[in-house]
Each structure stands twice: as C-alpha cells, then as structure tokens.
Amino acid sequence: MTLLHPAAASAAAEDDAAIPLLSVDRLKAYYRLKLFGIDREVRAVDDVTFAIGRNEIYGLAGESSSGKSTLIKTIAGAIRPPLAVETGSVCFNFSDGTRDIYRLTPRELGEIRWKRLSYIMQGSMSVLNPVRRIRHSFTDFALPHVPEKGAAFAERIGRHLERLHLERSVLDAYPHELSGGMRQRVAIALATVCGPEFIIADEPTTALDVIVQKGVLAMLRGIQRELGSSVLFVTHDMAVHANLTDRLGIMYAGRLVEEGRTRDLFRQPLHPYTRHLISSLPQIGDDTPKKGLEGSPPNLAAPLSGCRFHPRCPLAIDICRREAPPMVAVAPGRRVACHVVTASPDAVAPAMEEVRP
Amino acid sequence: QVTVPGVPRSQTIILENPEGTIKNPGWFNIWTLNAGGQFTGLHQLALDTLWYIDPERGLDGPWENSLASEKPIYNSDFTEMTVKLKSDIYWSDGVAFTADDVVYTVESQIKNPGMRWSALLSLNVERVSAPDAHTVHFKLKKPNSRFHALFTVRFNAIWIMPKHVFEKAGDPLKFDFNPPVSLGAYKLHSFDPNGKWYIWQKRDDWQRTTLGRYGEPGPTYAAYVDPGPPDKRVIAQLNHNLDVVHDIAPEGMFTLTKQSDSLKTWFKNFPFAHPDPTLPSVIFNMQNPAFQNRDVRWALAMLIDIKAVSMAAYRGAATLSPIAIPPTGTHPEDYHVPLRDWLASFELDTGKRKIRPYDPTIGAQIADMLRPSMGDQIPTDPAEIDRAFGYGWWKADPQAAAELLQKAGFTKRGNSWYMPDGKPFSVKVMVEGETRPILTRAGTMIVQQWRQFGIDAKTEVAQGTMLDRRNTGDFEILISWSVETYGGHPDLSFFLDSWHSQFVAPAGKTQSPRNWQRWASPELDRIIEAVRRIDFDDPRTVELGREYVKLMVREMPIIPLMAYNVFTAMDETYWTGYPTAEDPYANPVPNWGNSRAMMVRLKPTGK
C-alpha cells in the first residue's frame, strides 16, 4: 500500500504550517439502508484521506453525486442516519488544541461549532427558519460566539452584511421575502460573521448571478485572508475554483482521485477524469465544441471493482478493471489515483516543473 | 358541603328534584305553562289548594281537606259545587287567605287562555262566586261529578293564586312571581341563579297554614336540588349530602342497601321501592290492524315470562299486577284481593282448548328465586310477599300462545310466524330509553321473549320523541302507562274518563291523554258513563271499577305488568320519621305535591 499518511501529505505540501488544520484519514462514510424491503449500502465516501492546512482555501470538485456533500457532512460532524461513518477519523487542530470530531461529546462539539468551525450546507437557500426574522437568526447563531453584545453586535452584523452587498434592512425581513441569492448570502454571512478558523461551504453560490457571486467570493477570500482561517469549498463551477482556491481535490464515485495546487491541476491535470472536467468547460470567446462524459455515472450502491472510472476512461488498461488505484504522491503536494499516471510518473514530472513560476 | 350561611345542615332536609336543572330559575309563576320549575319545592311546600288525596294512607286518611274545611258539596245533578273554606289561613306576607283568592284564581285563568288550567276551567265553569269570605260557589256549564278533582292534589292540582299579588302584577302571563308569596308552611329562602337548587324556610307563622294542624314541621329548611346522574345521587347520599333520592336504578338502590348504614326505604326489605299508582303496561296500538284481534293480544301476553321481565326490569323488585289497576295504596283491598277468585276461574279459549292462565303464586316464586342471593332481605310472610311482589300474573304458556295465534289465522313456517296475509309477523316495541330505564329494560326482555318464539320483534328507542309518537299514535306497541289512579281512593275516573270512545282520535291525528291504546269499546263507554253519573265516594264506583277490570282482562287492550316502582332512598343521618310501608302516612316520592306531609313527621337526629 502506498497510501500517503496525512502527515506526509502535509509535509509534502509546501505550506509552512507543520500540522494541518484538518486531517481526514481513511474516511469511509456509507448510507446504510436496510429497511422497508430495501437493503443496500451507498458508499458515498469510500476511503478518503486528505489534509487542509492553515490559511488555505481547499476546493472540492467532482461529478454530481460523487460524494462531495457527504464528505463535507462527515467533516462537519453532521452525521444523521442513514449516513454512518465506517472507519477513519476527522481531526481538527484548532488554535486551542487538537480534536477528533468523533470522539467529542455533544457538549464539546457544541463548543467548537461556529466559534471555530462553521458550515454552509448545500441548498443554503432553505437553511433559514422561515418564521424567524433574519436578525433573530443572527442572534441565535452568532451572539454567543462574539464578544460584542447589544448595539455593538448589531453594528457588527450590519457591517458584515454590507460586505456581502446586502442592505441592513434585510435583518428585518423574513427569509421568504428575500430572493434565493439574498438568502444564500445571508447563510454565508451567518457562517462567517464569527470569524471561525475553519469554514466549510457546500455550493454556496448557485443562485447568484455572476456579479454578486464575484463579490461574495471576494468577501469570503477577504475574510479568510484576514483571519488566516481555512476554507473547504465545493462548487461545480471550475472557474470559481480557479479563482478562489489554493488547492483542489477532485472526487469521483466516492473517492478522491486527484489533488494538488489549483494552478497545477488546471495547467496539468493528470487523472483522465480531471482532464475531462477541465476541458469540458466552455469559456466566453471559445468556440471549440465541448463534450460531456459518455457512459453512465457509477452506481455507489454496487461499486465496480478496480478503478471506478474505468468504464468511461479513454486510457483504461487491464489493471484498471481489477485493482483500485491507490492515491499516490506523484510530485510534492500532488497526488493522484490512476494506474496509468503512476505507471509513467516521469511523463508527469517535467510537466509539473514547467508550470512552476 | 350543602350549607348556606345561616342554614345549618342539621336543620335542613335535602331532597332531589327530578326536574333537574331549571332553565329559568327565577320564575315561580306556576300558573303559566312550564316557564319555570314546579317541583322545586314550589308546589310541595309553598302552594296549597282545596283538597289532597294521598296515594297511601295519609296523615289522617287518604282524603285531606286542605284549604277547604269539608268535602265538596254538589247539587243533585252535579251542575253546582260549593266549597267551604278554612279560616285563619294566611299568605306568607301576612294577608289572609279568603274565597276571593279562589275566585280570582278561577277567573283570571279563564280570562287568560295561555294559563295552565285555563282550558279546564273555562270548559267547566259557568260562573264562580264567593257568597262570603269562606265559601266559594261554582256554577258549572254541564254536569260534572268529578269537578272537585281539579282542585284535589293527587300529584298536583289547580293551585290557589294570591289575588293581592297578582292583581298588581299586570299581565299574569308575563309575571315571574319572584319571590313567591306562599300559602304553604314554607317560604322561599334562596335559590341558585343557575337553577340547581332551591332552599325553603319554615314560616314563623306555620300554624297559620293548612299543615299547621298536624303540628310543627321538623325541618327548618328544605332544599330541593339537582344532584345529577344516578351514580352521583348514590355518591351524594353515601356522603350524606342528599337526604332523599327521588329515584335510582335498582342496582343503585342495592348498592345503597349494602353500603349505607343509615338508609331508609319504603319496604324495609326487598324490593325497597315505593310502587306508584301508575301501571306500566304493554300498550297495543289498537288502530293497528295487527292487534285488533283479541286472540293475538292474549297470545302475546301468554308469551311473556313475567318473572324474567321482573328480573330484567327491576332485578325482581317489581310489584306485579295481572289486572289493569296498579297494586298500590288502597287498590289491593278494593280490587286485587277481592278479584282473586274470579281471576283464578277465568278461562281462555285457545281454539283448541280452554285454559286458566292466572297464576297466583308468581310473587312467591320470585321471592323463592331471589332468596338464595338476597337472603333475609326477602320477606317470608305471604301477605308481605303479596304486597311486595304483587298479586300473581299470567302463566307463560307458549303452547297456548301458538294455539291462539293459529286461531287468529297466523301460521308458523320454519322458525317464524306469519300473519294471515302471509307477511312475517313483525312487531316493533317502542321504549323511551334512558328517560325510563326500567321500562326500557322490561321492553327489551319482552321483545327477546317474543323473538325467541319466532316473532320478528324489535325494540325501538324513542328517547325524546316518545311523547310525540305516543300522542300521534305513531307506534305499534308501547311500553308505558295509560292507567294512573289515585292510589288512596278506589275511584278510577282520574284516568278512565278520558278512555271514553268520544275522545279517541282517528288514526294519524293527535290523541289526547290517556287512552294511548286508542281503544274504543261500547262496553267500556257504558262503565264510564255510569261512573260519571254517581258521586265520587259512592260505593258503586268500586263495583264499576271491578267491571272495568274484568272487561280489560277479557280484552287485553293493554297487558298490565306491574306498578311503577320508584326507588326512593332516604337517609336517616339527619332526619328520621320518613314514610314507609309500615307507616304509610305519605308517598315518599319527593316531587309529589302531597309529599309535604313528610315535613310534619320528620324529626332531627340532632347530628
């Protein structure tokens, strides 16, 4: 097994932080369905190992239903049946100590939430209590975690909303009075206003038009830079990844298939799926015909043997059908799970050098 | 709990008013129709009229001259009646009672057709006058030998109005008479604005009332209350919060006999209840073709196993009567006992043979049946058994019934009986349900017996609609009573006069009381007319009454069952001296007007 130890992975990262803020180790999270005549297991996260350093924006991309949200839920400790963690650990190394999120009592977990770790769920348009004014949601979520109280607190959230291009009057609105985009921004504001060390964001900008989206992303990055916190960011928009994230992980069928610095990944995608993902992206002014992936998406309830991408992979060779490729560091800070790529790492290395600034 | 400031429990008797909650509690003008309560103590304790007949023996014989000083005086053709009044009787406000009050009562009722006794009086009275302060003279429109009955309390009668109060009140129909000025020994103390209770207080001048001559009434206060559903009455009495329970189910009474050590009942032993001079019967709708044949009626009678009915209805505590006269008061001496031999020799022709259906031993049989479970609560003395369990009944004889039905042209196919026209013989028996639980039980049992014999019999509960359906003849068979008597007097005109065929309504039209069976019989008419011609106290009334009994036995237009037994339960914690079968000085049932007699015999226990 050439599985990379998280420590090794972070050591491999060129960042200065010696201990990563988040380390996920051999995580398996399955949806267990054994009820009502159905008996199956959806292996939505199947053996994922990675780490996120301090002061870093880590992007996660991948096919729809490849397990991104599941991974994120597991990291955020938002496990509800039928989701269950099989094996593996999720460790946070906050400024006040290291915590394995599955070893914490609910009380301890409650203590780190929002103060250190905040989370924007997918579908963040519907996470607001429909019968509670936005102002009260802020009080509920943020008031216990910030030093300001009373008017100072109101001032703080007011200023924060303005950074998200929202008027302060939003505070007196009910969620349904806001457009989807405004609600998403409120959700982002809720998750960022306390200045947590780690922000998890699952497709937070789907309902925004490009102008607003850009502003919001800028704000997110601004906060992150200012506080030196870390962000785990999921989106389907590769352009967002390119502009926002420092490192990028690509998921396919419950597995991380490639990881590396965003720029490297775009310049030189190694995994065939990554390559496809990047090349299929149209750009304004670009007239070349683009194509989607042929073949059907993998079935996580009955995963294929070998590499899960092999039926759709143009490069598939024999071993791909038999053996699952391990995640291998092919260059410092660069990992990939592909038999073809690891078989000829030499072909990769020069390319990597080339993109170094 | 039932204590009012200044009304000590030890001086108060608490009685049940079966009227329940009074909708319009502040209304005491009893001369309008049902605008307020009547049995709230108002007619028992506060009002008075000329005469009383007690269904039992009475304080001083069943007949009592109340406001009148002597019996009614008729002229020879019964077109005039003169009444002599007592003097020294005063209203509670100190005004003397005089003949003017009686005259006013009669005249104002005649003047106002909406008043309770207006119709009765205007039909009868040509003119009323007061020759002097203590004499009233009635000139009648037509001969009426029973006119005095209107002023004679059996349950109630025309109460005398205080002229001096009503005169000033304006429209007597709109006047609430609150507080009532009373003529009786008690006056109103207070009442519940929600109609749940009334408290009456003994008048200081109780001597100046008609009750005064029997001595001072015991209770200083009398409360008439609505104690709620039967179980609650039992609880209330066990808690000594209700001295007299008007009526409960037999089981409630048995519970009381077991659990209360201060209980007093009419019969010391089983069946405990007081038999009212009222006769629950199986009443045929004689206008229904199915019941026009006497043999059919008799067949249905022969199918009744009265012991089972007695058990079902009263748990055996029924006082049976084979004849159409309730076995209570003085009636057994006048009718039941003398007619025994006649009954024993009575023969019925079934078409195949002659049978003697009367069984005088039924009462004893029931006593024997109950003895194992009730032990020494069951009397052993034959006379006592007769008084308690009645005077025999008809033998259940399905064989005879079958023969009678066949004689009437009915046929039996398989297990079912068919009428002469080929239709199945089906009968619906109407009962009143919850309102009269005992009769409902009896009806259900009778239906069961008929059903088992192959008749398609069903019970119909007509709770709430019973009155209307009875009046309009909208029933096949009814368990109810059409016979009600004085109890303390052999005269039967109280109910019988209305049985004359002149009053029978055509089918579909409203029948006036009390001939619910709508039976028109020339023979009966002859008896009724004979009664009309003789005086109330004429010994011939008994003769005519016996003739009536025999006619009824032959014809069976109603199947008499038993007396309406009222389970009045009396608690001796605070009071003693209640009327009982041993000392039957009054009817204990507390909503009867003559229950006022109790007051003068009750003695405090000192608790």
């Binding site: 200045g195 506080l227 993902l277 683009k290 194509k291 | -």
Partner: protein, 283 residues
C-alpha cells in the same frame, strides 16, 4: 405571412405586495418585448440579475401566469384566450418547459417514467401501451437514454444529469416547437452541463426546436445561444446577437456582468477576486 412562433409584446407583470399589511407592489417584469421566428429555430438566452424577472417572464410564456400588461402570442394566438383544457393541452404539446432544479422537478415518491407516459398519452394521442412505449423510448434516445434505463426508477435512483435529461426527454415527447428552459444546468457538474447544452444544440439544429434558455452561466450562453437579452430589475437592458453582446456589451450593467465573469485563464492573470477583496477589516 406566417405568424411568428412567439411574440412577447410589451409584457409587464406586477405582483401585489406580500403579506398582510404590506403596501409594496413588485414590478417583476417591465415592458419586455421580443419575438421568435417560426422558420428559424434558435436558442434564445435570457441572462440577468437574480430576481430580475427571468422566471416570471418564463412562466408567462408558459401561460402559467398572466401578464398584467402587454400580451404574449404563440403562433399568432394570444395566450389569454387559452382557457379550456383542450386548448391548454394543444398549447402544451407545442410549448414545453424544463425546470430549474432537477432534484425537485420529479415527485420523489413516484417513478419518473410516469411523466413520460402521460405526456405521450395526452399530447401525442398514443392510445396503446406499445405506442406510448415507442414514443417515450424515441424521446429518451434523443437524450442518450433508453426506456430500459429509466422505467420504474425513482428520482433518487438517478443522477442529476440523468434527471435533467429525462426532463428534456419529457419535453420532447410532445414534439414541441418551443422549449422554455429555466436554469436547467445550475446544479450539475461541468461535464454533465455540456451534455445538456449539446443536447439543446442538437434539438435546434436537427429537430428545429426553438429554445428559450435562462441562465446565470454566461459561458454556456455564449457557447450555444443565437440571440440573447440581458435583464435587470424587470427590464431588458440589452438585446442582440449573443456573441456580439457578450463579446462587446454596451449597457453598463451588461459590461459589469461581462467583467464579473470568472474565468480559469483570468485566474492566472490575477483578475480574479483580489481586486474586490479590499474591504473594511473584520477585527
């Protein structure tokens, strides 16, 4: 002369204020006009700010909402005159819709094939089961699926892309001449997104279906559309040939929109987010 496929003529929509005591009137769409030629199938794109009235406009075109001003004619017939169920069925067999969110577009409690069969039955008059199956299978093949893959399956058993394609197949069953697609690709990954976009192109080019394509994604708009309008607060601020407008927008809002588009290449040039990140300090 043959009437236009669609005439949107000076259409406005005003919503009454929400809530009990609200006096606000919301003018969601203001005087929008455009038309689609019957003979020249095209992809007509609507872009705009969130809340600028795109969906409202779409539902008016689909005749599920009535304009408060102006009129919409489909093949010369005013939509306001479509009332009876027969007319509506006839209309829907010509104009179809693809909805924004594939995950909510199918009843989660029911197999997805029902929609296809019903559409075949109602719009194409397929009486027999066989006829319906053929029809549905044809439509599914056009989107790269087959009846065998779809029949009897529940929405949760399908991927977002599959659902999206089923929705399109469902719209195709009735052989419409116009499809209104409201943000059909916002929730799916880039690869699937291209599958869907290419499908639109195929529909236009091979089947002659006109498509009204509503999106936030300027890149795909550029990639596929023929004409385009840009909306802001209910008004059309710029309209014209898609490539021209996107290449050289003129209205200030369009320009800002164009500039705000993030691109992969731009990222390396540093024109990304940092320029905007100058914000008041948080601590």
């Amino acid at each position: 002369m043959k009437p236009n496929l669609l005439d949107v003529d000076n259409v406005s929509k005003t919503f009454a204020g929400r809530g009990l005591f609200s006096r606000r009137m919301k003018r969601a769409v203001r005087n929008v006009s455009f038309s689609l030629d019957a003979d020249r199938p095209e992809v007509f794109t609507i872009i705009g700010e969130s809340g600028s009235g795109k969906s409202t406009l779409a539902s008016m075109i689909l005749n599920t909402a009535r304009p408060t001003g102006g009129s919409i004619r489909f093949e010369g017939r005013d939509l306001a005159h479509i009332r009876s169920r027969r007319d509506r069925v006839a209309f829907m067999s010509r104009v179809q819709a693809i909805f924004q969110n594939p995950f909510d577009a199918f009843n989660p409690l029911k197999p997805v094939d029902r929609y296809l069969y019903t559409a075949a039955e109602v719009f194409s008059g397929c009486r027999t089961k066989e006829a319906r199956e053929t029809r549905v299978d044809d439509a599914l093949h056009k989107v790269g699926l087959s009846l065998a893959e779809v029949s009897g399956r529940f929405p949760h058993e399908m991927s977002g892309g599959q659902l999206q394609r089923i929705a399109i197949a469902r719209a195709l069953v009735s052989s419409p001449s116009l499809i209104v697609a409201d943000e059909p690709v916002s929730m799916i990954d880039a690869s699937l997104r291209m599958t869907v976009i290419n499908l639109f192109r195929m529909l236009r080019d091979d089947l002659g279906v006109s498509i009204i394509y509503i999106t936030h994604d300027l890149a795909t708009a550029y990639y596929i559309s023929d004409r385009l309008i840009i909306m802001q607060t209910g008004e059309v601020v710029e309209a014209g040939d898609a490539r021209q407008v996107l290449a050289a927008p003129r209205h200030p809002y369009s320009i800002r929109l164009r500039e705000a588009v993030l691109s992969v290449d731009g990222a390396w040039r540093g024109t990304g987010l940092d320029a905007e990140a100058i914000q008041p300090s948080l601590r």
